[in-house]
Symmetry: C2
Subunit: 205 residues, 2 copies
């Protein structure tokens, strides 16, 4: 990978490059076939500079005047997005939101698979993909899980994040409004539905 | 409101100011009681300049050396957040994610109430808060709804956003990966779980 810190905006466009490379009749899949970033830019209605920068960040620069080898470029994007081997993710909290995420189909596009949910309550244990919190450390170790989605009420967030960190989780996507304290080296990203609505409400159209 | 465009970061801190004003034993609720932004900053562990800026954006400046009237400041923040009258929001798409949002309790903190969900399928119509898409325009008109959360598969996103706009919705929080085209004046904010995970994965701890 040319640049380990690829912007969120670039990551957001990668699935569309991949879909174009895989499905467009304008792309040849003969061995050795090439494609230029200007063709991709034109077909997708994006700026050429932007496309060149996006592709450079995951696949290096193409050959001058020729562009990218189609197969190699496709593989580079797939590898970056983790399509070849989906990154396993667990959900902590098996309430309505947690089970919605557990059963959400839209994650594979970006290379993720939610493989289990964990909950304190044993009521939900009928579902074979839902486990008790006590099983989290061993599960994460056995399945190589380092990413978790936290979908619990605010009051439970800190406790659950502590347990996740103890279980080897280093990256947390937090749906609660709480701001848990975590050791350095652990990343928490907040995805707050209410705050997103509030920001939207107070933005002028 | 002093400034119609209040930053997302500021909005994110408003509930904690409100909780402090309402619940802290350090805040007097005697008529005419005042509080300074430096006290608030110290108690909440925030920077004084930040607190002063945050409060100025929703309640104007306090009196020099005295600060804010507690009751007036509380009311200003409550009014900004819509606590006095929750903003009604509808969800379009009553699948797992949509019903999770419909039943989510965390929105009132930021002044929102999800009052109904709409779906094309009649299967889910057993729930009294779930309606058919045909009922959307009249419902939004009767309840003064201008904000919608869209929780449908990517392929349905454009169609659903068209219907929402026709029904008088001007602000849309979109959970799908699709980027719908909307008329100017209509705002769409994207909240993409998969993209958030991908950005988190590729950020160094």
């Amino acid at each position: 990978m040319a640049n380990p810190e690829v912007s969120r905006a670039t990551i957001g466009r990668l699935p569309s490059y991949l879909a174009f490379l895989e499905n467009s009749p304008k792309v040849s899949h003969e061995p050795g076939a090439t494609i230029s970033s200007s063709v991709i830019a034109k077909e997708l209605g994006l700026g050429e500079v932007q496309v060149r920068k996006d592709l450079a960040s995951v696949a290096g620069s193409g050959k001058p005047k020729v562009g990218f080898d189609v197969a190699a470029l496709t593989e580079s994007i797939e590898r970056f997005l983790g399509r070849r081997r989906l990154e396993p993710v667990v959900v902590i909290g098996a309430g309505r939101l947690g089970t919605a995420i557990l059963n959400y189909n839209g994650l594979a596009e970006y290379g993720f698979e939610v493989i289990a949910a964990f909950d304190r309550s044993r009521i939900k244990m009928g579902d074979p993909k839902i486990f008790s919190m006590e099983e989290l450390p061993e599960f994460c170790k056995n399945h190589g899980v380092t990413m978790a989605v936290v979908a619990v009420p605010d009051y439970a967030c800190q406790e659950v994040c502590d347990a996740a960190v103890d279980a080897g989780i280093s990256k947390i996507l937090n749906f609660s409004s709480a701001k848990p304290e975590v050791p350095s080296g652990i990343l928490v990203e907040h995805l707050n539905i209410a705050l997103s609505l509030a920001a939207l409400k107070h933005t002028e159209g």
